[in-house]
Symmetry: C2
Subunit: 194 residues, 2 copies
């Protein structure tokens, strides 16, 4: 990884973009963080401009996150409780979000100026949210509130997962000191009515 200068530039740029935003990160700073001489145009031997770099970084990060086996949910074991299956699901979703974390932060910053790219990420998220979490939720859960309005329960679950993730990122600490495992277990129990 990060063998060539092009990759080093992408690594350094993503880090800087996350820390201070794209607009506030000058090309000179990217050069310096990539081991190039700041102010030299050496950056431009690798990318046409900062926008091209952003596009390339987005492509690379999304490809990485989709391939990562750690964010795939393993199949339910026979006899496993619905609450436990759901808790594993939720932890996998949090892992998936953590994989995409730098990208999400950058795109939330840049959504106004790169709407088509933000749209693609949204598709990946929604696709995953719908296909995995919601499908499991609708089939295996007997709780009254879920049965009455499964779509709303799915919305609550997705909101809670995304909200937990963003709480941790933006405030730098877990909400009410609750770690990922406790969060996943409690949310799963609430959804399954146990």
């Amino acid at each position: 990884m990060a063998v060539g200068t092009r990759d080093r530039i992408m690594d350094a740029a993503l880090r800087l973009f996350v820390e201070q935003g794209v607009a506030a990160t000058p090309v000179t700073a990217i050069e310096a963080a990539s081991g190039l001489s700041p102010g030299s145009g050496s950056f431009y031997r690798h990318f046409g401009n900062k926008q091209d770099l952003l596009t390339a970084v987005v492509e690379r990060e999304m490809a990485k996150a989709r391939k990562d086996p750690a964010t795939q949910v393993s199949a339910a074991r026979p006899g496993e409780l619905p609450a436990d299956v759901l808790a594993r699901q939720i932890r996998a979703d949090l892992d998936f979000l953590r994989d995409l974390e730098p990208l999400m932060i950058v795109l939330m910053w840049e959504r106004g100026r790169a709407p088509e790219v933000a749209g693609r990420v949204q598709e990946v998220m929604v696709e995953r949210g719908i296909e995995l979490g919601v499908a499991d939720l609708l089939t295996s859960v007997p709780a009254a509130a879920v049965a009455d309005d499964p779509a709303a329960a799915a919305g609550v679950m997705m909101s809670a997962v995304v909200g937990y993730f963003l709480n941790v990122h933006y405030f730098g600490s877990e909400p009410a000191g609750v770690g990922a495992d406790r969060f996943a277990t409690t949310l799963a129990r609430l959804l399954t009515g146990r």
Copy 2:
């Protein structure tokens, strides 16, 4: 409202900051949007620099949100079900977040460069979350998952509310098409085990 030039500058600046971020908003653009001549330094008759303006805007918006009676929860009516009280609580929290929406967006963008200001907003949020939502939750809810780990349940509730709000903001639509009332009702029912 917005009688003097100073107020018009703050209104215009907040709008532009939300749309494109602080770093990407030149003072020239703020002048233009405030009815001043762009490029003239007239802005500097009212604020020392852009950072001073940001600070003033944050102060003003936080003072407004704290005073707004629409975001205060009315007392529980006698005989009202815990789930209904909690649902009203959740709707009030969403109103509170919507009141603070522009400020939150700007501060999430700027958190790296204005950490002390972001810290103050966090305090207000946490204070409100703890004092209102969590206190009610702990006292009035008999659900097993809540009784077993009240702090985790409170974390789930806060995460869900914040996540719902941010989903709506960033993706421009309600998660799974679920509106605020349905969301609040479902989350309250899940938490109260009804």
